[in-house]
């Protein structure tokens, strides 16, 4: 079998190699086209953010004159400093709470035995079927009744833990050998101490992935901040809401709008460049979610 295929290969060498060259040309041709499709928008966004408004009428990639005026203007005059700090505060707070609660719950569902565990876990997975579009009205009504609209606590409260995160942590805890817990138990460690001192440090990679994905999710979130802060709570605006408002109100201030867009995506770019491999784990989790 092997010999046949080698012989067949040899017989076809000249036409095959010609076809290969043609194939490579097509592959690289498509690659260049797709690369232009993806790089040109970002290149112009960056370029425009360093232009003056009259200069945006021309499509030269190198700004002339080169100015950082749009950046200072969105940061100071259009309040992006406050919006960025709001986003940062929410993203960090929500991420930390999720890490704690998803690990705590994930560990219990993976390792502790208690009656009703399987039913409760099915209930957790069932929440994945409830879309935000249905929750929107009842959650808004509930938070209004509790006077939690128009401050950060309502948003934090409804974002404390997600089924995806809890499921993700549970799956990771299931892969850790039981020997570690048994050793801790022999040393007389209690359940919380075993979780906190032994299991949590062992779950380092899962915690890192979850932290990155949750930070990204909260930083990018548009829907819930709009619902909870959109009704006249401008001091609570996240950077995504601030950017949308800038586009509504000053639609043709292109340099400012592009500087604002870059500010809204910059932290994600930095995290992506540093922690690329964790985002692939995110796609796997999305696969589970779907």
């Amino acid at each position: 079998m092997l010999q046949t295929s080698v012989a067949a290969n040899e017989a076809y060498v000249p036409p095959r190699s010609r076809r290969r060259v043609a194939g490579r040309l097509i592959v690289y041709g498509v690659l260049i086209a797709v690369a232009l499709l993806y790089f040109v928008p970002f290149a112009y966004t960056l370029s425009t953010s360093f232009k003056t408004l009259p200069q945006t009428a021309y499509f030269n990639l190198i700004p002339h004159p080169f100015t950082t005026a749009a950046w200072t203007s969105v940061w100071k005059d259009y309040d992006f400093k406050r919006y960025a700090l709001n986003s940062l505060f929410l993203a960090v707070t929500v991420t930390l709470i999720n890490l704690f609660l998803a690990s705590l719950g994930g560990y219990a569902f993976a390792r502790l035995r208690f009656p009703g565990r399987e039913v409760l876990f099915l209930l957790v997975l069932g929440t994945l079927m409830i879309p935000d579009q249905l929750r929107l009205i009842p959650v808004f009504v509930m938070l209004t009744n509790w006077h939690l609209i128009g401050n950060f606590s309502g948003y934090i409260l409804i974002s404390m833990v997600s089924a995806v995160n809890l499921f993700f942590m549970r799956q990771y805890f299931l892969t850790i050998p039981k020997d570690f817990e048994e050793a801790a138990k022999l040393d007389g460690a209690g359940f919380f101490k075993t979780f906190w001192r032994v299991m949590l440090p062992l779950a380092g990679p899962a915690i890192a992935a979850l932290a990155i994905l949750q930070f990204q999710g909260t930083w990018n979130d548009f829907f819930w901040p709009l619902i909870l802060f959109g009704q006249g709570s401008e001091h609570l605006y996240t950077i995504q809401l601030g950017l949308a408002q800038l586009s509504f109100t000053y639609q043709t201030l292109w340099p400012q709008l592009m500087a604002g867009s870059i500010l809204a995506l910059l932290p994600i770019l930095v995290i992506f460049l540093v922690f690329q491999r964790f985002f692939v784990a995110g796609v796997t989790a999305a696969g589970i979610k779907g």
Binding site: T48, Q133, M142, L257
Partner: protein
């Protein structure tokens, strides 16, 4: 001496048995304590709102709360509301076009990346990056590129305001979301492509089958589970279109309702008209539609994996 030993070992055994039952109870207690807060969040902000949302949909409900029960009138209202009907027409048209476009672009990029090109990790990351960025940032960038004096018009020599023209606004959103989402679709196709055994291709090469024929006769049919998965998962995602419509139309769903979506209908009915009843009813309708599609996905994906 012997007696003492027996007593000691016996009491030790009894204590052991006692502490075993005690340990079980302690473990269960800690288990409930650990899941208490997460379960409270799921119960209060997911499961209860499911019931409460259905409840609200049967009432006239204003900004100050419940007014009175109206039976199924809210459902009647929305299905006879031309704006809601228009939003359904829009979202169906949008989904039917955007999903195949995402699949085609995602598969094309996956095939190129899979063809052992130079700098493959770099290109894979670059094409995936837009999927990770906020909808607001990508939408703002496209508002700039597609404005009447924007880059697209400069390239093709036109002067159309793509988001300002009712005949193109929805299709401009299709373009922007296909561009954004193709990167994620690519990752699913790449994983599927890499799971295809190389034997199949070697056999095709031996038979002298051309590249184009190999793709349509071998690769494309073998990707069937991936096609199904992407179709249903991204189809459900497309039905939830909101951010992009909201931002390009300043929340109006315009021009002339051309970018109105069901989620935007829920939002505007609740927050612009303060009619929570019909808004909740529209939410229930969306939930049922998504639920049925998810069941369909579970059934079909499950079958295609088994088969």
């Amino acid at each position: 001496m012997a007696t003492t030993t027996t007593t000691a070992s016996e009491s030790l055994r009894r204590a052991g048995r006692g502490s075993l039952a005690g340990a079980r109870i302690r473990e269960a207690g800690w288990g409930y304590l650990f899941v208490l807060l997460p379960m409270a969040v799921f119960g209060l902000f997911f499961i209860y709102p499911l019931v409460y949302g259905i409840y609200i949909s049967f009432f006239e409900w204003g900004i100050l709360g419940k007014v009175h029960g109206v039976g199924t009138a809210n459902y009647h209202t929305i299905f006879h509301d031309s704006v809601f009907r228009r939003s359904i027409k829009n979202i169906v048209e949008y989904t039917v076009v955007v999903v195949p476009l995402e699949m085609a672009l995602g598969l094309l990029i996956a095939l190129v990346i899979n063809a052992k090109i130079r700098g493959r990790a770099f290109f894979r990351s670059s094409f995936y990056f837009p999927s990770l960025v906020s909808s607001a940032a990508i939408t703002a960038i496209f508002i700039y590129l597609l404005n009447a004096d924007g880059l697209l018009n400069a390239i093709i020599g036109g002067n159309r305001a793509w988001f300002g023209d009712p005949s193109t606004a929805l299709w401009a959103i299709v373009g922007l979301n296909a561009w954004t989402t193709a990167g994620t679709v690519m990752l699913f196709y790449l994983a599927a492509l890499q799971s295809i055994s190389t034997d199949v291709y070697e056999a095709a090469a031996v038979d002298g089958t051309g590249t184009w024929r190999t793709f349509w006769r071998i690769t494309f049919p073998l990707l069937k589970p991936a096609h199904f998965f992407v179709l249903v998962v991204f189809g459900i995602g497309a039905l939830k279109l909101f951010d992009q419509s909201f931002i390009v139309s300043s929340g109006t769903g315009g021009p002339v309702y051309s970018t109105y979506t069901p989620v935007l209908y829920i939002y505007n009915t609740a927050f612009k008209s303060a009619e929570f009843g019909p808004a909740a009813a529209a939410g229930v309708v969306m939930f049922v539609a998504i639920f049925l599609l998810t069941l369909f996905q579970r059934a079909t994906v499950g079958r295609s994996e088994a088969g």
